[in-house]
Amino acid sequence: MELTGAQILLESLGREGVDVIFGFPGGAVIDIYHQIPNYPNLKHVLVRHEQGAIHMADGYARATGKVGVCLVTSGPGATNTVTGIATAYMDSIPVVIITGQVPTPLIGNDAFQEVDIVGITRPCTKHNYLVKDINTLAKTIKEAFFLAQSGRPGPVLVDLPKDVQQQLCTFNYPKKVSLRGYNPHYDPNVKQVRKVAELLCKAKHPVIYAGGGVISSSASKDLTRLAQTYSIPVTATLMGLGCFPGDDPLWLGMLGMHGTFAANHSISNADLILAVGARFDDRVTGKLSEFASKATMVHIDIDPTSIQKNVRVDVPIVADCRLFMEALNKEMADVSQLEDACVPRDKWLAQITEWKTKHPVKYKPAVKGGPIKPQSVVESIYKLTKGDCIISTEVGQNQMWAAQFFNYKKPRTLLTSGGLGTMGFGFPAAIGAQAAYPDKLVIDVAGDGSIQMCIQELATAVCYNLPVKIVILNNGFLGMVRQWQELFYDRNYCSTCLDVAPDFVKLAEAYGAAGFRVTEAKDLDATLKKAFATPKACIVDVIVDPEENVYPMVPAGKSITEMILV
């Protein structure tokens, strides 16, 4: 039987197991929307701005590990997703974006709502397609999903002209994909694994430096087993938080610019670093020439371009992190049996314990009757939920405090824009996660600046009964920029003071959500508890100390041990 392009698209999404799409209609996708009611297994979430749609698809993907899907119209619909596409690209998140396009005869004519979205998104997608021939549509969708989730995951965009949506074609969904230019390498080299095992056994001061790749490849269990069996301390990047239990004695905390004293000093004193699924971002390494300068560097990544990009690597391994960890655990079992194979680590672990006790992540407690400390809000969330929730964050101070004062124990429990640092990400991402897990507690730790960037999605959350909790650490500032101005720009608070702000409680109520405000520390826990128990979307507006800073902090370009402490 022949189907229209629109039907073929929706059939294909069904074959890929897509259960929800986040979208916004428009002239160039009206044919697809016309068909959506005929596919009851496909839930469509109507957003209020296309940036919301792409972040929701992204949040859904981060929380589940499945491909997130977003559907928007041509022109402005498509360009509104670009920030979100770049966000997903930087953090290697599998997302498929379907954009409508003007009919093929009009392409290139500056038609109404025409934009070359394939050209625009070329540098921020893993791959993208313009489908001009209905006969290639099913194959293209198949390839898009395959590319998005294989190898190093990433966003893939499919631009679908209106006339192709209307044309008829026999539907055959391909079983396999063959792309001669794309062959990700998954299996680790056996000899290299052996070498790593031997190095690891001999290392006196080893550290595992884990990144987002550990989470996207589901390597957490194997990594945790390795670390615990052979007493190897673990630190992680912002993207890696949750890949190792945050309450384990071997956990060092996050490393980098706002990393812990123990993590940064462990890296600087390590004689062996096992970098797994991480990419040596400048926020992690600080001054490159002094990063882990005493260590033999082992780097495992699925993406060959990540290796030898920023730092010299002694043992490069292109492989899937989980397959590597499985292989290394096996090899370690073998190598560690050899006589005197493993060097005792007691001294190293004692040193680390000392660092951790002497310099934990901390803040100056609030003075009695003084303003609430934002860090204490994150601590309260942790205490009340016992860590059993999904946290998303906006970007800035709120993001760093959410990273520092919450012990993530499981992968996919922290959703945050690490690479691109996109303000406005957290709330729609939380909605995406909530759509995947309606019964879980999903909390967006926000700032009063970031939350206003996608606040319109409150309507979406209310409309679909997605009871996301927004906790605003309201300091009346664009806090992170203000912090830099305070520390490095003579306290010149140019354009960082948010003098006029909405009443977030009334705003929540205006949208049909619930609003709470906390101004005194004594009310904090009770109000959070009440909000978490409220079965609908909530804003908890917590008025916090306006000039609190994120510490520790490594000034940009300095070595990661040159930390400003509290």
């Binding site: 540098p123 893993k126 001669r180 230019g181 993406d303 060959p304 371009t305």
Partner: protein, 159 residues
């Protein structure tokens, strides 16, 4: 160091933009770029010459391989290769200078492909050095126009 990269690509719309965008977006340098179809349907070959430190060249090659539409990348600098570039050169050739220009054309084994009242168009093929030498020699007569094709190269049979 200068490297010659031979890049086999799917011949589809946008592939050139993917490759050139990769170079500009990541701050890599393209010296010359040549694209043409191969004998295989739907496959084109790009020859790119670029300069950079070893680490940069390694990144360029890896980044090229990462493109879905790139089938194969070979760094011809790593093997014995034969490299050629073609150039058309329009040079001022008034009476009295024409003979000397033609002598140089002869020495360089070039061809005169077009003649005007006071100018000659010369076709020359060779290595980059040879092309530059010819340009240098012709400069004193007055070069009116230059069109260069960019290098093409192949691995030599005997390594």
């Amino acid at each position: 160091m200068r490297h010659i990269l031979s890049v086999l690509v799917e011949n589809e719309p946008g592939v050139l933009s993917r490759v050139s965008g990769l170079f500009s977006g990541r701050g890599f340098n393209i010296e010359t770029l040549n694209v043409a179809p191969t004998l295989e349907d739907g496959v084109s070959i790009m020859t790119i010459t670029t300069t950079g430190e070893e680490q940069i060249i390694e990144q360029i090659i890896k980044q090229l391989r990462k493109l879905v539409t790139v089938i194969k990348v070979v760094d011809l600098t790593e093997v014995k290769n034969v490299e050629r570039e073609m150039m058309l050169l329009k040079v001022a050739a008034e009476e009295g200078k024409r003979a000397e220009i033609l002598r140089i054309v002869d020495v360089f084994r070039c061809k005169v492909v077009d003649v005007g009242f006071d100018e000659l168009t010369i076709e020359v093929t060779g290595t980059q050095d040879k092309l530059i030498a010819l340009i240098n020699l012709m400069q004193r007569f007055g070069i009116k126009e230059v069109a260069r094709a960019g290098a093409v190269a192949m691995r030599r049979s005997m390594q």
